[in-house]
């Protein structure tokens, strides 16, 4: 808070009772990374590198650790979140202008994820589902969760990962129908193709930048480092294993035709008590998406509070309404894809361009201000 006072922004230190334990960033980051993308990333990733794309998946995941390291460095230097850092580096007006971009960005993310879920429910289960009603109920739930503070949001992230974890076992039933020779020969594609696939994959991994916002809420942030890295690592392993299984289960041409390979793998599952497993899977996905929506709205309202001094309780409702408004326009696959692509692109720019740039700027600003 020392720097905060120097540049004259009013950041009240956050009370300990609002803070989360150092291990919770693991769940927050994983929950944010695992959303709609995991249902259909395989086809997109395989476009360039084909059966070698799993290497790109692994590679793209490992690079994130560098970004996480940089994010911690930024937050440590300014002793606060990215909002503090922006104001610290760029001054109050430019900094806050930059900050308000995040409101837009997180509302759009929220709309994209929820829109994706609604599309899947419509295609796979109920074609007549009313978007407005479903989204309203869902957003109300998110608002309710956020009213409990970040601690509740983080708790929700924990449950939404732990409760549906059994879904992973179900993929084991697809192994019987998989042909792992599909992965051979390894390294059959050029490095350029692999990098292209890695770029596409990096869009699916996004979501870890939420760390920039929750940093001031972490008790003993030093201790949380290993948990944040572990969370990213688990996500990487999950995606890599899923990619390998998918490439073995689908032959090349068949994968090209599958929009949601992860869901389609469940079509082979037949359990004695249920004929079609996707219905359970998709219903579970509604739980997995909750933290995505809740965390996005939380960040949006948090930034609103910091920049516009609007109370967070009100900010959340405004953000949720804006999100609902955007959702009303997402009535076709093209539009949903457009929003998902846009948020992915923005997110990529934030993680791989803005964050390193901000780190350098913070270092320079620190040097200059010391003199």
């Amino acid at each position: 808070m020392i720097i905060g006072r120097q540049v004259g922004i009013m950041h009240k230190p956050i009370q300990d009772r609002f803070k989360i334990s150092p291990f919770l960033p693991l769940y927050v980051i994983m929950a944010m990374q695992i959303g709609i993308g995991v249902l259909g990333f395989q086809r997109v990733v395989a476009k360039d590198a084909g059966n070698d794309a799993w290497i790109s998946v692994l590679g793209a995941g490992l690079i994130i650790h560098v970004i996480v390291w940089v994010m911690y460095k930024i937050c440590e230097t300014v002793q606060g979140d990215v909002l503090t850092a922006n104001v610290y580096v760029f001054g109050k007006i430019a900094g806050n202008a930059l900050n308000s971009f995040f409101i837009f960005y997180y509302i759009l993310t929220c709309a994209g994820v929820l829109g994706g879920l609604i599309e899947i429910i419509k295609v796979w289960m109920f074609p007549e589902l009313n978007t407005f009603v479903f989204a309203s109920v869902y957003l109300l739930l998110a608002v309710y969760i956020i009213n409990g503070g970040l601690r509740t949001v983080a708790g929700m992230a924990f449950f939404s990962l732990v409760l549906p974890a059994y879904l992973l076992l179900v993929f084991g039933l697809a192994v019987k129908h998989a042909d792992f020779t599909n992965l051979l020969p390894v390294f059959d594609h050029t490095l350029i193709d692999m990098i292209k696939s890695g770029y596409r994959m990096s869009l699916t991994y996004l979501g870890y930048d939420v760390l920039l916002f929750i940093y001031p809420f972490i008790k003993e942030p030093q201790k949380s480092k290993k948990w944040a890295h572990l969370g990213v690592f688990f996500t990487t392993i999950l995606y890599t294993v899923l990619a390998i299984l998918t490439f073995a289960y689908f032959s090349g041409g068949l994968l090209e035709k599958s929009i949601w390979p992860t869901l389609e793998m469940w079509k082979i599952v037949q359990l004695p008590f249920i004929e079609r497993f996707e219905y359970i899977g998709i219903a579970n996905w509604a739980i997995i998406i909750i933290p995505n929506v809740a965390i996005s709205l939380w960040v949006a309202s948090r930034v609103t509070k910091q920049v516009f001094h609007l109370k967070q309780r009100k900010g959340v409702i405004v953000a949720a309404l804006l999100c609902l408004g955007i959702l009303m326009f997402l009535n076709s696959r093209e539009r949903i894809n457009m929003v998902l692509d846009l948020t992915a692109l923005l997110s990529f720019a934030v993680s791989y361009l803005f964050i390193p740039f901000l780190y350098l700027s913070v270092l320079i600003a620190k040097k200059v201000k010391k003199k």
Partner: protein, 354 residues
């Protein structure tokens, strides 16, 4: 007061979200089997629907309709049906011979695109017409259960390699591999036989393997967990139950292509017409079976090469062993590839009598 209002609002919203199309099991016609035949220029579709009687017996009811695409045919049928026809519980899809010879992939699109159709649905080609098969009454649990059971039972315990919608599409879209399906034939009014395996080139049936050769075919494309074959050694017949089999491909040379296929069989004797099954006899049976499998499998592969089809996936295998594999060159070279089959049989058990 405020809390109460919010609660009521929430409750009403939740009630609203229940407003989606319901499908109550008693109020729909559950299509469990679908058959497609050629009739004049159009496709004659039949849909099998079980009617559950109060005395717990099941009657079979068949809707038929003409059309050009699968979904349209089902829609046409609904003109005749008092309840909507749903496809969520489909068990089997049958293709008449004529349809199968002209290609089935366009019909499978409906199976693939509709999320309510599972990937485990059995597909089969019918020697004759599918509607003819639908006309009979088989078993006491409904026709579809009978037909899917027929294929399932023969896949798990018999000489039929694993086939279903997923497997078919997997092979169809796999470069260097051609799909295959069971071939069914109606032999008696109340019985359907497995008449062999129908072999596809791309999406068209061009050949078939008779039941007598199915044992060797399965050895090449699938792993046996159970299966049976009769062996004649020294004029004495013995029946071998194959417990387990595994195959392994090896690419020995590239130009021209030379493959080694090694098949490993662990089996036991279940019937022998001679006096005693001594060690010597067992050795003889083993040797005889090895020779027989090697020659029959080689014959099968020769036949595939002549017809230029590749149901065992040698092309795919060659690709997995080669970086920058050229499929156009492979198609030219495949008929001239040399394939050697070596077999290793070990008979562990001779049953409870000697």
């Amino acid at each position: 007061m405020r809390g109460q209002k919010l609660f009521l609002l929430l409750l009403s919203l939740m009630l609203l979200s229940g407003c989606v199309q319901k499908e109550v099991v008693d109020d729909v016609n559950i299509a469990v089997g679908i058959g497609l035949d050629k009739k004049d220029d159009q496709i004659l579709g039949s849909v099998m629907i079980p009617v559950y009687k109060t005395d717990r017996s099941i009657e079979n009811f068949t809707f038929t309709s003409k059309g050009t695409v699968t979904r349209d045919i089902i829609f046409q049928m609904s003109h005749k049906s008092s309840q909507p026809i749903v496809t969520g519980s489909l068990e089997v899809g049958l293709f008449g011979e004529e349809v199968a010879r002209e290609g089935i992939i366009e019909f499978l699109d409906a199976f693939q695109r509709d999320p309510s159709v599972g990937a485990r649905v059995y597909l089969a080609v019918v020697d004759g017409t599918a509607s003819e098969i639908f006309k009979g009454n088989y078993g006491d649990r409904g026709n579809a259960i009978y037909l899917s059971g027929l294929i399932q039972q023969n896949t798990e315990r018999g000489n039929m390699p694993l086939t279903n919608v997923h497997q078919f599409l997997f092979d169809f879209y796999q470069k260097g591999k051609d799909p295959f399906l069971p071939l069914l034939k109606k032999t008696q009014p109340d019985l359907v036989n497995i008449a062999g395996v129908a072999l596809f080139k791309d999406e068209k049936v061009i050949d078939s393997i008779p039941t007598s050769k199915m044992f060797y075919f399965k050895l090449l494309v699938d792993e046996y967990s159970e299966g049976t074959i009769k062996i004649k050694a020294d004029n004495k017949e013995s029946v071998i139950k194959s417990l387990k089999s595994k195959y392994k491909f090896r690419l020995k040379k590239r130009s021209p292509y030379e493959f080694d296929i090694h098949i490993n069989i662990d089996a036991l004797v279940s019937e022998y017409t001679g006096r005693t099954v001594s060690k010597k006899v067992v050795k003889k049976i083993e040797k005889q079976l090895e020779r027989q499998v090697a020659s029959e499998c080689t014959k099968l592969i020769k036949k595939f090469q002549e017809k230029n089809i590749d149901p065992i996936g040698l092309g795919h295998f060659a690709k997995t062993q080669t970086r920058g594999f050229d499929f156009t060159k492979w198609t030219e070279e495949y008929p001239n590839a040399e394939v050697k089959v070596s077999v290793d049989v070990s008979i562990a058990e001779v049953g409870v009598v000697e």
